[in-house]
Amino acid sequence: MLRVENITVCFAELAALDAVTLDVAGGEVVAVLGPSGSGKSTLLRVVAGLQRLDSGRVLLDGEDLAPTPPHRRGIGLVFQDHALFQHKDVWGNIAFGLRMRGGTRPEIERRVRELLELVGLTGFEHRSVATLSGGEQQRVALARALAPEPRVLLLDEPLGSLDRRLRDRLLDDLVGLFAELRITAIYVTHDQAEAFALGDRVAVMREGRVVQTETPDALWAHPADEDVARFLGLGNVRDGAIVRPEAVRVTAAVGEEEADGVVESVIRHGPTVRLRVRLADGELLEAAVASLDHPAPGDSVTVDVDPDGIVRLP
């Protein structure tokens, strides 16, 4: 449905986007995942028509969008930090796109109510957007973009400015919403959890390039290279292969001679505990342990690796 073809954008000789190609099928959500400065936002601005491009094409349903200005593309954009109209109330913000489309009053009224209900803000119609909390502003931004029924919805780190708990909650809401609306969307984020939760497929970007596009499971199973693996948090790379932390079994050594290494640090990550073990050869190996009865820093341990947990890098 949406095809981004060979896009290159340069800022002062520097390529912000370097021959980027991306396909988004109808009803599909593609999460674009990458560190800041990798070109994710620029990619969205190109699709929206807010950014001139040096070469390449953006096709929507086979039609080249180059001659279409942003306001006629029928593409919705949820801005980072929302960019709400401060001089309009919640109603005025959500109704804006509908008014531009030239809807009748009852139509607009019905649609705005529908959206307020959808994002759980019924009763907020005439609140000034400046008085809303971060999460509420985010919902208004989403409702505003959805109101005119865009063909494609673009989201630029929509949860980026919110605190962690609120983010987790809104993330769940978004997952439900996207499933319900069957919307075609590109969701840009630097957060792995968001990308995996929302994306039917995840495109990993680095330094202006898309290095890998896969479903979350496939990406997790077969990262394209060491950098992608490390970005996903798979730090155990040994001899051209990834060792999954959950495949590493660590047990207390019976005697000094039997030990494979010494535990350096113990950090709890939610349900699992991450152990970092300094091996005899000096390398670090990370293990994820579910047990509450785990070794402590300084303990000598033996290490076994489940062969199923070793992934050869291409």
Partner: protein, 544 residues
Amino acid sequence: MTRPPGGGVRPHGSDPAKLWRALTYGVPLGFLAVFFVYPLVSILERGLRSDGALTSPLDLLTDPLTREVVWFTVWQALASTVLTIAVAFPAAYVVGRYAFTGRSVVRALITIPFVLPTVVVALAFIAILPDGLERGWAAILIAHAFFNVAVVVRVVGTFWASLDRRVTEAAATLGAGPWQRFREVTLPLLAPSLAAAAAIVFLFSFTSFGIVLILGGPGYSTIEAEIYNQAVRIYDLRAAAVLSLVQLLCVGLAVWVSLRLESRLAVRGQLRAERDVLRRPRTRGEKALVAGSLGALGVFLGLPLAVLVERSLATASGHDFGAYRALAEPTPALLAAPWEAIVNSIVYATAATLIALVVGGLAAFAVAGPGGTRILDGLLMLPLGASAVMLGFGFVIAFDEAPLDFRSAPWIVPVAQALVAIPFVVRIVAPTLRAIDERQREAAAMLGASPGRVRREIDVPIVGRALAVAAGFAFAISLGEFGATVFLARPDRPTLPVAIFRFLGRPGELNAGQAYALAVVLMVVTAVSVLLVERIRLRRGGWL
């Protein structure tokens, strides 16, 4: 994440865009050329030429009277600045650090003296100061402090309210006591705003006219007042012209120094929203501080005005509205009945406001638009520095011959008043235009708004409020404008400040009473227009 450059919502190079650009540059520049540059050139010519030949102005420059006037102008401006900051600082502190009920009301009320006509302020101090002190340098300094307190409280207080409390808290955890925290952390951070406020107060005091003319008395004349004396009372146009040039040079120098100072002192730092900074006073000491500072300032600002009202009602035998009733009767002090001055003032100020909004509004778009230059910005500020008396004097000598004999044209007064108001209009509107987040325009475009529609839906509503604010200020400024108007208003069509001045120039209790009564009327009209402005004022509109 940073926003990459090169957005494409605004149209470039299209015909409407070119036309718009020509309009926004052409109208303000044309207006300035005719009504500012040309009178200035006339002054220059008058000062440097006598009897048709180039003459050195050296004889006038080395004249002891000139030296005395320049010296007095400089030191009274410096002293006024120091006094103003001293008087305003406690209130700036309270407004900048504490949240309390009525905080915005306090800020609005403090602003009233600043926009009061100088003639009203001068009269208020004649009314309140004891005999003997009512004229002279002390009266001038106190009146300047009264007038400019708002500048310091608003500039410094607003800036203070955006300084992160945690920085001083960090200093405290590092062992700094209250005084050390103030000296080592707060003061350096405040310095740019203090410098900015001081520069404004210095400039206003330096070019002060009405207050000096009325409160100065013999021997206390600033350059500005002396230009008027020479031109109107002694009728030495060459001396007035040379003094104007001296004034221009001094103001230019002062502006240059203050700009240098500001850039030297500028501290970059994250500014925070007021609601994160301000907190309610907790201890009794803090509450006493808030109440005490504001109370003292309230007395300083309120008492002279209250006494002015009282004096307008005072008669030999008690209080009544006699002086007000007499405004309807013809008087030998004026060639018109005093009440006509009220009508004249309102008509002139309305016309001046319209002119200032059109010219200043277009200029603001030019200054804030793509490619807007600092040069244009600076050029538009010039009338402010060149001072109203110079403008009035320049008009008189520039527009005295056909085909440019406009001295008695009815529109010449509003044009001069507009010229004084334009810098304020630009200063209010341009920052608002600049502050519109480009993403707001982009968001509108993404929702289907065409470029023209974006301007209508985003730019105009946001600027509309700023324009309304600017209109209020332009109106208040024009109402109270005295320096230029006193040269230009026809004797049979005086404005309120001019009429008050004429009454003051005549002896007798009824004349004094009528001057007080007119001053009260002028004060009320001005205060009402300013309070209306404060209601629609943008919450973050800079110091104005």
